[in-house]
């Protein structure tokens, strides 16, 4: 009895002593275990979600995790994390890397590290095709419509300072105003715009969503701070994906034509871990 409890205490001390050593280099640790544990939300289509047919977690970030693991030479293990708990899970070492639709922000840079930017989303402008407008800058001095109360109005004013903005109570009203030629452009969140666009039906041919974002939100993989070897390995793997064209293929697989979001172009590259401005 007594010897057992001594053994437990000895074991505990051993762990306390060894654990920091084991974490001294997370990359070596991962290679040693042969698995990269990816924390994913599994609730956010198409970033990571449960496939209703196979009951497995799939998605853009899942594919990225698997690709990174392959480059490191290990297998990826998925672990579902909650939005609010994802950063603590990473900090406490229950996951090695976060692919949890994590927005890269300055505030978070204080607690965790970020890989290269893996996805960029933001607000965009829909215009009528016959207007000939191809960039947001061409909206200068023109009228745009949007929904009241969000960040759309300040963001388009920041992007195009001389633009004339008229806001409505609802996004559909603003869309009608665009359709009736009351404005040159309709500003909204990217996903909402694609949704509105898909509802236009046959009239889609008369409208274009400008590919440029007027404001951006960058998503990246989350890593523990002060693990330069792992960050270098992950960033290197992501860079390889970009140069081989595999990253682009993954993007179109989850966001491109044929998906619900129907992105026609990819407005970013996986090549930087810097936040703009």
């Amino acid at each position: 009895m007594r010897s057992t409890s001594h053994l437990v205490i000895a074991y505990a001390f051993l762990w306390i002593a060894v654990a920091p050593l084991a974490r001294a280099d997370q990359l070596a640790d991962i290679k040693h275990k042969g698995e990269l544990v990816c924390g994913v939300l599994a609730t956010d289509e198409p970033m990571s979600f449960v496939d209703p047919q196979t009951r497995t977690i799939i998605g853009y970030e899942v594919d990225l995790c698997k690709a990174v693991a392959r480059k490191i030479g290990v297998t990826a293990t998925l672990k579902q994390v909650a939005v609010a708990a994802r950063i603590p899970e990473l900090q406490q070492g229950r996951v090695d890397i976060l692919g949890a639709t994590l927005t890269h922000t300055r505030e978070r840079e204080a607690v965790i590290a970020f890989s290269l930017t893996t996805f960029v989303t933001g607000q965009k402008v829909m215009v009528r095709r016959d207007s000939g407008i191809t960039t947001p800058a061409q909206l200068a001095g023109k009228k745009v419509v949007t929904v009241r109360g969000g960040t759309q109005e300040p963001n388009i004013r920041k992007a195009v300072p001389t633009v004339d903005v008229v806001t409505f109570e609802t996004a559909p009203q603003a869309l009608v105003a665009l359709q009736q030629h009351k404005a040159a452009g309709f500003v909204n969140d990217e996903v909402s715009l694609f949704d509105a666009y898909s509802k236009l039906g046959p009239a889609q041919k008369d409208y274009v969503i400008l590919p440029q974002n007027i404001s951006t939100e960058v998503v990246a993989l989350g890593l523990r701070k002060d693990e330069p070897a792992l960050k270098a390995a992950v960033d290197g793997a992501l860079r390889d994906l970009e140069t081989s064209g595999e990253a682009e293929k993954l993007f179109f697989k989850w966001f491109g034509p044929g998906t619900r979001l129907q992105y026609q172009t990819r407005a970013f590259h996986i090549d930087s871990d810097r936040l703009a401005n």
Binding site: R148, G150, P154, V166, T167, F168, A177, Q180, H181, K182
Partner: protein, 231 residues
Amino acid sequence: MAQFDFSIVTTGEFRGWLVSGFLLSLRLTCITWILSLPIATAIALCRLSSVAMLRGAGAVFVEGIRNIPLLVHLLFWYFAMPELLPETARTWLYDHGAESICAVIALTFYTSSYMAEDIRSGIRAVPATQLEAARALGFGYLASMRRVVLPQAVRIVVPPLISQTLNLWKNTSITTVIGTAELMYQAQRVETASFRGVETFGVTTLAYLSVSLVITALALWFHHRFPVRAT
């Protein structure tokens, strides 16, 4: 307990937004009022006319307009009416601030239908014998109206017209739904940008109230200065 800081919305950029909204609200009120008065008078005269067709037209105008909510009027004049216009007229409208023009059109129709009824009741309050006496003296119908009946009717009509002006001033706030950048629109914009809802709408309320009180004071003053004469 949140700290209220009114200086955020009464200085700098936000004050500029609110002031521009306030000025547009005043402009909408003034332009609508100037357009509504003659239209309302014409409609009232139509409704009092001996010609059945004019009476019918006047009744259709008044009942057709004041029985529909102002919000519906605004949405109609902004979203539906321009679609019925020929291309060039529509383009002109959109190039010249459709939000304000459509707001004025909707407010003018709405206000004049109410004003027409006030004017009509004012004219009817002048005893019929006044018109008959004028006609007996050889004045034509319009001349009798202009020289005898309307001057007496004005004293009766002005207080309810001032009350309609008060309604008009408050009704301008509804034009925010069609994107008219009046006071309410700018207040919502300031609230979104500043996260200072209480302060923003506090100041906005004060602005509406102060103009309303001025209009009310005007009504009281007129009532004292020009009381309705006993006939």
